[in-house]
Each structure stands twice: as structure tokens, then as C-alpha cells.
Amino acid sequence: MKKILLIIQREYLTRVRKRSFVVMTILGPLLMAATIIVPVYLATRMNETKTVAVLDESGVFRGKFKDTEHMKFHAVEGDITTAKVDFAKSGEDALVYIPKTEVTLPSNALIYSGKSVNINITSYVRDVMRKRVEELKLEAQLRGIQTTGDKPVSVDDILRSIKTNIGINTIKIGEDGKETKSFTEVNMVLGMFTSLLIYFFIFMFGSQVLRGVIEEKSNRIVEVIVSSVKPFQLMMGKIIGVGLVGLTQFLLWVVLTFGIVTVVTSSITPKDMKKTATEQVLHQPGISPEMSSALSSDAEGESDQDMGVVMEALQTINFPVMIVAFIFFFVFGYLLYAALFAAIGGAVDNEADTQQFMLPVTVPLILAIVMAQYVVQNPDGPLAFWFSIIPFTSPVIMMIRIGFEVPVAEVILSVVLLILGFLGTTWLAAKIYRTGILMYGKKVNYKELWKWIRHS
């Protein structure tokens, strides 16, 4: 056990000190941050003026929506049904609907739009509503203090008590008049992003395991080491060490991306944009091209996505479940494939010989990521079911389905099969590995591998 820790330590330290690791760690977040920031930046610099109709049933915000450089507001009257009909005819950009509330101050709004709603409109509406509601609350507080003569509470307490969250739902009105609440898009985006991430990391770090094993073999150091530790310990030490490098890189990416986005957005965007930085980070996966095609979302892309929707949808997502699922499928998916990569590395003498064995290992993985876009459209179909059950594709596909409603039994089945799959490939890989690493100058084929498996 102590020895396997030593091996893990070496594998980990030599890799994180490599220049390529440092470069990747810096470049990754820069790229990711850029894909988040650029659309946001562009959105804040929109040059056409949007016209927005406001139907304020509560009357609380009358005259509060002031025209800005890029937004023109005008109030409409009547009920929402007619307002929507008028809106559809008018060619205006958005309709803000603030329903009447009975007891409390209004804290919700609906924004209808023919297209996805511009982020600035949402932010502005939210900001105006929040300020107005807080103002009214403060007045009420002050009145209370004056009339009852209560001892004034601290300013902090007052500020806390008037703090208001405004919920905004955006609803897209299709050309046929159909209204869609774009909730599932967040699930899709999140699912696609996490599954892409798993796919990417399995490939990237699986091939690091492969190269590491080949390196040890072609260096001829492997026999020195297996005279000190069992081949299985060496193999698992490498797999775990490289896996930890992967996790480290992932965490660094998340932290750095978040940091860059927060710093940059706060310097280039108006004040009310700042608080959406977090939402942007959570939302950023949607920018990748695979994603947008999979989502078949409109060409305006993510910048026009409504943060209010995102926020609301995010609240409906069970994050603890998502995180646990992500870590599980990430770790076990990697372990399952890394064992196979290690076996291939052990069987061949150099990287050029890996081709014939790489194909059957990479095909299921590539198939999974290709199928992902169909699964995301029909997460309960037979395709989605089978791909999320088979251990070789489940790490990628199950992550998509987790974002939707998945029967618990299917998740358990998938988890159990993935663990069994991991144990199976590791057991098989260990047999190939321990024979292969001591074999030099032999052209290995599948028949030969089968012999190794049977005889060791």
C-alpha cells in the first residue's frame, strides 16, 4: 500500500510539473472565459434599440421604466391576453408582464419575446423592479418606526429585511403562437457539457496512461520497478496518479475560469451585470459548437439567453445529485478506460503499434458522444436507455439523462454495471499488462493477447 502511494505520488508530481500541464491549465480557462465573456461583452454593446412594452397590473412600477440608450419602454393597458395579441402584431422586441399581487409587493415578472430575450432587457427589468420594491419596503419600515416610535434597529438589519429577489421568467412565443418556457435547455446544456467533459478527460488522460506505460516499457525501467512492486500496483498507481492529475486540472479550470470571468465582466460591464457572472459560468458550456447544434438553439446563441430563466432552471436542478453523479461517472468512466489504455500500452513496444488496439477502445466512446445529441432530444428513448446502461458508454450518456427525470432503478443499474465494468476491464487489463510489459520485440495481435489472458 505504501508503495502504490509512492507510485501515485511520482506519477502525479512529474506530470503537474510538466510545462504542458501548466500551459493547459492557463490556456484552458482563458479559452473558456473568452467564450463566456465575448458574447456578454457584445451583448452589452448592442447598438440597435429595442422596444419593450410593459403591462404592469400591479401599478407599482408605473413610470419607473425609463428609456435608456438602447431600450425604449412604453406602458400598455388591458389584460395579458390582448396584450399578447397586440404584441405579436406590433413587431416589438419584448413584452414585460408584471402580474397583480394581493398582499405582498410584486416580485415576479414574465417577459415574452418572439426571439430569445436580450440579456440587457432582463437585467434592466430586474434591476428596476428590485430597486422599486426595496424602496417601497424601506418606506414602509421607516413609517413603522415613525408611527410606533420603536427603537430604530441597525442599518444592516434594515438593509437585510428589504433585500428582494426578483424572479423573471422568459417565455418564447413561436411563430405559431406556441409558448415555450425554455427550462429544459439548461438541463440539456448542463448535461451535454458534463458529458463532453467526461469524454474529453477520458480521452486526454487515458492516452496519458497509455503513453506512460509505453514510456516505461521503452525506457526499460519497467523490469527494475516490477522487481520492487507488483505489476498490478504499478498499473493502478499510474492510473490513479494520472486520474488525480485530471481532477486537479479540472478543478483548476473551474476555479480559474470563474475567477477570470468575474474579474473581466466586472470591469467591462455595467454594475447590474456583475451579479450574473456566476450564472454565466454555470451557463457557459452552451457556447461550444457541438452544444448549440445539439440544442438546435437559435443563431443568436447564448448571449441572448435569459439569465432569469437560467437562474430559475438552475434552481430546479438538483445540484447535489448532479455533482455526485458527475464525480462518479467521471471517476469510474476514466478508471474503466484507463485500464484498457494501460493494457494496450503494456502490449505494444511503441506508440505506432497502438493503432490496431486503439480502435475497439475508442469506438464506443466516440459513438457515445455522437449519440449524445440524439439522447439529449429524447432522453427517455430506447437509445438513451441502452447507452446509459452499457458501461462503455454510460459515463457519457447517463450524465445527460441525469439532468432530466431518470428512474432511480435505471441509475442504480447503470452505476452497478459501470462498477462491474471497471472491475472487469481492470482484471483483464492486469493480465495483459503483466505479461506484456516484460515482452520485447514481439508483434502482438489479438490471438496473442487472448493467450496472455488465458495463461496468466
Binding site: I7, N219, R220, I221, V226, L438
Partner: protein, 312 residues
């Protein structure tokens, strides 16, 4: 006292038997030569001793008891196929390999520094292995083999990759290890070094031990009672003056002397040879012809059966 015994060890592979009831006994404090042509099964046996692979049959006895997995900490192994991580620094790598053999970080560092000093390698500590010459790498490799002061050292073709100066230094160091009490198994094709270093040998050919024992006994066993004699004479032939049963194998002459190789009949002594020739010739020297390990090797391997295995 045997430090290590392999008792009728067999190993079967898919379509050949790598070891067939092989028995070797390695005496404590001796240098034991493991000889044999390529493909005879030496490497398989060495890997079994290192517990890299397990035998199908047979027993392994280490220090008087069945071998245990943790005995590998008492073994130092320098494989024939050897190398180091090219991108790692020398010091870090040496410490890593020493710790894999069970040394603590502190001990490993401490001992390695001392050895680096002794071998004049101090400046190498922070260099990457790929920056060292092949010979320097071999030195590092040798160091990490002995750093944990194992009871049993196994060297598989240790001299390959060393220039004569470093090879000599290595030989000295191997003898020094023996002096310190280490037992050494030494596998090589270099028969001169076997004669020089080994106390005992086992010769493996086609998966079996075909010859084993102490080197001097084996050489005596292969001695054919043949003597070379240098002399001066005006007589034309040597054979007429020799007693019955004495046979002249070859004769040669240089500017000063003549030389003959004479095979004596069983039981005859060199004194009889001298007594017969002294009245006729002036004798300058008489030497017994003891076969070298090289001859014994070839004779044992090719003589036992055909076809002839190739030697390297």
C-alpha cells in the same frame, strides 16, 4: 549455508517449457554464475527469484525458509533490459527507486549522497537522466541496485554498456559487495569474468541445469591430463621418446623453442613425462592445460546434444 535455493522449479509457457525441474543452490557469501545460451531459461529463472513471475512447480527457499513476498526488499536486481526515466532528475529518481525497495525518504537521501560522493557523481544529482552519457546512466543504475544493501544481488549481464575503465570499477565494486557479505547471482556470457569472479556456477541449457558446482572443481573435472611443454632439441620428433600411451596432440616452433601439447594416459603424472623427455631435451616449462570456462561452456552445450545453440 545456502542463502537461496530453487528446488526443482518448472515454468511452462504456451508452447514451450522455459524451466524444467531446475535446481540451483546459492551459497551465502559466494558469487554464483548463472550461465547458458540465449533462450535457455536464465531470465525466466531470474524473474522467478525476483518474484516477478511465479513458478508452476517447485520451491523457493530464502535464508532457510520458504520465500516470502517481502523478501524482494532483500534482493537487488540489475536486469539485462534496464533503463531509467529519462525526464526525471538523477537524484529524485534514485530516491524514488530506493524508496520502492523500502528505504525511508531520509535514509535513501542520506545513503545516496554518500555514494554519489564516493563515485564522484555529486554534480549529477539535479541533472536529468537524458543529459547523462550511457556509461553514467549505468553507474546510476548500479547504485540504485545496491543502495538498500540487499542480502542477495542479482546482476544480469552487468558489464554490457560499460567501457573498460568503468567495467573494471564495476568489477571492483561487485567484489567489494561480496566482501561486505552480500551473496551475488551473476548471469553473463562473458566467460572470462566468470573465471575471474565466480565461486560456483550452474549452466542451464534448454531449460535444464546441465552442469553445476564450484568453478575450480568443474574445471578440474574437464581437465584431460594434457600438458604443454616447452623445450629445445635437435631431435626431429618428440613422440618416439615418449612412453606408451602418451600422445602428442600438436607441435609448434618459434625462433628459440619448440612447444608440444601432450595428452597423458589416465593415471600418468607430469613427472613421468619429464622423466621420459629430460635425457633428450632441455625443458623450459611444463604447464597443465586446464580448460577455460569458455571451452567447458561450448563443450557442455554442444556436446550434450545437437543442434548447436548459438552463442553470443
Amino acid at each position: 549455508m545456502h542463502l537461496f535455493t530453487a528446488d526443482s522449479v518448472s515454468k511452462q509457457y504456451e508452447n514451450h517449457r522455459a524451466l524444467d525441474k531446475v535446481t540451483i543452490r546459492v551459497t551465502e557469501g559466494h558469487i554464483f554464475g548463472l550461465l547458458g545460451p540465449n533462450g535457455a531459461g536464465k531470465t525466466t529463472l531470474i524473474r522467478i527469484i525476483n518474484q516477478i513471475i511465479a513458478p508452476d512447480e517447485g520451491k523457493l527457499i530464502f535464508a532457510g525458509r520458504p520465500m516470502r513476498p517481502d523478501d524482494i526488499a532483500s534482493i537487488g536486481y540489475l536486469p539485462e533490459e534496464r533503463g531509467l526515466y529519462k525526464k526525471m532528475t538523477v537524484g529524485e529518481q534514485a530516491v524514488y527507486l530506493a524508496r520502492l525497495k523500502g528505504l525511508s525518504q531520509h535514509d535513501a537521501q542520506h545513503r545516496l549522497k554518500a555514494w554519489f560522493e564516493k563515485f564522484e557523481m555529486k554534480g549529477w544529482w539535479n541533472k536529468k537522466v537524458e543529459e547523462l552519457s550511457k556509461g553514467m546512466q549505468q553507474k546510476v543504475q548500479f547504485l540504485v541496485t545496491i543502495i538498500h544493501e540487499p542480502k542477495l544481488l542479482i546482476f544480469d549481464e552487468p558489464f554490457s554498456g560499460f567501457d573498460p575503465i568503468n567495467a573494471n570499477m564495476l568489477k571492483e565494486e561487485i567484489l567489494a559487495q561480496k566482501e561486505k557479505g552480500a551473496t551475488i547471482i551473476f548471469s553473463t556470457h562473458n566467460m572470462a569474468s566468470v573465471e575471474e569472479l565466480c565461486d560456483d556456477i550452474a549452466l542451464i541449457d534448454r531449460s535444464r541445469v546441465v552442469l553445476d558446482g564450484a568453478v575450480h572443481e568443474i574445471r578440474k573435472r574437464y581437465a584431460t591430463n594434457t600438458f604443454s611443454i616447452r623445450f629445445n632439441t635437435y631431435e626431429e620428433a618428440l613422440s618416439p621418446i615418449l612412453p606408451q600411451g602418451f600422445e602428442v596432440l600438436s607441435e609448434s616452433r618459434d625462433t628459440e623453442h619448440r612447444q608440444a601439447l601432450v595428452k597423458l594416459p589416465a593415471g600418468a603424472t607430469p613427472n613421468q613425462l619429464l622423466a621420459a623427455v629430460m635425457p633428450h631435451v632441455t625443458v623450459y616449462s611444463v604447464n597443465e592445460q586446464i580448460p577455460g570456462m569458455n571451452d567447458i561452456f561450448i563443450q557442455a552445450v554442444t556436446g550434450s546434444s545437437s543442434p548447436t545453440p548459438t552463442l553470443e
